[in-house]
Amino acid sequence: MRQRITYIQKPSAPFHPSQTTLTHDALSVESLDAAREERVTFSFDELPSELWQVLRQCHQLHIRWASEKVYEAVSPFSSRISPGLHVFYSPVDAGKAKGDNEGREPVCTLLKKVFDDGLRCESPEESFITPPILSTRFASTAGYQFHQLLPSPENLVTYIQHKFCPMDDDKCRQRAASILSADAVDINYDSISHALTMSGYWSEAPGGQGWTEIIGKHEGGTDKVEVGLLGAEQASEPEEIKMGGLLAVVGQDEELKPTLFSFPSRHHPLPEDAVYSVSFPTPTGMHPTMTISISREALNEPPGRPDATCALHAYLTLPSTLFGDKYQLSTTDPLFLKSHNLAALRAVAGETDLEAPDWFVSRWGSNWLLELASPSESNQVAEVWNVTVPLHLRYLPPSESGYRTASVPWPVVFWACTAEDGTKMGMNPFDRVNLGWEGLFGPRTMFYQLHPSPTRENGVLMEGLEVPVLTLKENGGVFGGRAIELGTVAVISLGFLWVLWRLGLVARSSGIRAQQKRDADKRNKAE
């Protein structure tokens, strides 16, 4: 079990060498004001059997979870995803994964066990969407994709405590519990490395007093425990990120070693005031409009090479309750696009049926990569630049109140710029891929993430939409299910009978007339 802990300090954060003490078997840090990433790598034989039974059938499995609370994503961890649980999965064979001994589908069974029993997951074929693969040459995108809102990773913590921690190991249990305060969790497995890595990201120490902890060396002394105390420096190349600070391998190094290194990076930070917020102007009706308000500072093209081309994008993760009309959004009509400040729909995957009610939709929802228009001169923009995305609600099942809530995670908004030929992003020790959106671009693309800035006090990156549905009281009521049925039947039957009666009158009167005529004819003949 290899372990890597990285503290990232902002230039403004205080640091004094006395805050760290390295002994022969442990590093202790005290009140360190920093963001923190911890990455743990398990080899195959360190995993519980129920886990590797499933992983064996995976070509790749990447799980991303992000908190719905706003957090700061510092460089080199500046990439973002929409809140919730994201799963990217490719099976070993194109065929169906083998069921467990009870015949249940293994991937969903495991996901439910680890994250939440209530996941709407039956099998990858039924519940996952298949994102468009931009180029099979890169194949960086997984075959199946899943998303569901998940407010807390508490089930994951319990799972780790049960399956990874020895019965009486309180330290292990506490470390697992620290995930509860993480802002993001990544789990990666692929069949090439045969290793499972799990990493957590904390934008700050829980409690706000800085990090105070003792990082011991590996129990068996066999696996590395690396610690870095780093800060971002000014890089010389636009593609690169430069980090400087102190590094140590616990149990091996005598002292913290100063370091300064740079590497090309996919993800780059933007200034703090490059922010966006998301809202749905009321009344939302059945056709809510997602409004992405972008600050003026975020509209400047990221600094880069003069020959680089950049475009502003938004990547939407929509639950099945809500969808876009792909025909409407993929239009090239300049008037429509201009009125919404959109440039183009670049990619769409998942449930895009325009008519199906929610209960007929088996997959979790859809993903949309939209290129946004940016003003030609950012100083022309008074306050904020509003991009609007027209969306539509599906019919939801009836409820007692006549309303149901559809929760929509905020999209991620970023600039994507071309990088110089030959840039190798994979050299980055902090590289992060399989986020859903980055695979839709070529491998030499740089991303500059805008910072979400919630307008509400609770700081949640989620919007709740009130969806009108059929009101149905459990105890009947004047317009209960029974009354609707009987009312409909009665009115239609009455209407039907009324028309039949009119037709009957017509038939009778023409019958009488025919009779009269026939009688008259007979009389004429007789005469």
Binding site: G285, H287, Y327, L354, T471, L472, V478, T488, V506, R518
Partner: protein, 451 residues
Amino acid sequence: MASIFKRASTIYGAAIGLRVILLFYGAWQDAHSAVKYTDIDYMVFTDASRYVSQGQSPYARDTYRYTPLLAWMLLPTTWAIPGFFSFGKALFALADVVAGWLVAKSLVLTHGMSPERALKYASFWLLNPMVANISTRGSSEGLLGVLVVALLWAVLNRRVYLAGVLLGLGVHFKIYPFIYGVSMLWWLDDTRTKTGTGTGTSESREPEPKSRATSNEDDRNGGTPVGVSQIISFVTPCRIRLALTSLLTFAALNAAMYARYGTPFLQHTYFHHLTRIDHRHNFSPYSTLLYLTAASSANATGLTGLRGPSGSFESLAFIPQLLLSVVVIPLVLGKKDLPVTMLAQTFAFVTFNKVCTSQYFLWYLIFLPFYLPTSSLLQNPRLGITVAALWVIGQALWLQQGYLLEFLGVSSFVPGLFLASLGFFAVNVWILGVIVGDAGGLTGAEKGKVE
């Protein structure tokens, strides 16, 4: 004569002018506003045409639920010639005008009207802004209008083969015209087919409508089984020709389309209407019930104590609808007045349908010129105004509830939309009763009186 000609050119000129203006206005609005004049359906048709032009299936376009003929017909919209995108709208608008012209021609036949007077009634269609608006926005309903009225015209002129082809084509296009097959077969008895054999006395008439036959059964030759002789006399060469031509046309078109596009053609053109799962609110009285049953059959409510409807009445909805539009209305009215029978059939079909949107109203609007001359709605203006007002108010109430739901997000399904759709249904059913009465001569508004 000169005045008639002048009048005709004025009306057709106005009808064409109105549509040309709307076409240009639409192009202007589309080019200058993000809110488009063009109907969303037109985008579906033209997208499908684009797929066809690229050698793909028109069903590659979601929600394309029409015959491939439509996508083929609109292929010129894919040509990169300025203005040709509107080709389809111009075609639909032209179809409108031709339909109006056929209405005028048919009125001369059915009502013995002077061409001038016929044109006056045809203007209800030709100069109707709603009709011109719908076709110039690019809705294909106008195409149905011309098909249906051409069918009527062909039957009135005893052009049986032409009628059969048109009927087969119409049903292939939009299914519902099959209801006219019944009334036309019924109407085409010997007196109508043997032209020139005099006006025909009651003795020479072929079978009377069943209802009439039963009302004076004792008067008939009591001994023989009623069915056999009637069935035999019903089967005339003319009826066989119509039935066979229409069936052959329908089958040939479907076979050709199936051979070309396979199952998606059948699925989207026909089966979709049987298995549709979208229960967005619409004018149909069934819509609330369908929402309720669909959600509870999918067990989606999540409310434990909540029972869905116990019966499955909505699956029997076709019974009153087809009984009226295919059986009783054609039998009772068919021989009295063919166009008004067709109006009543369409009215019943639309009113009792499980789905009903405002486009469907166009289906019966085409027959209005045939009904109005003898209708009590014009002879009794108070009744006419009441009918028109109730029809408009019924729709307005529904639309207001729909607006609350769609745009303001108010849960207006019950009681709002539920009662509004039942109310609108009641109004329509009452109007249907009036039409039936007029066609059956109950109100004393006999045909020809006006003339």
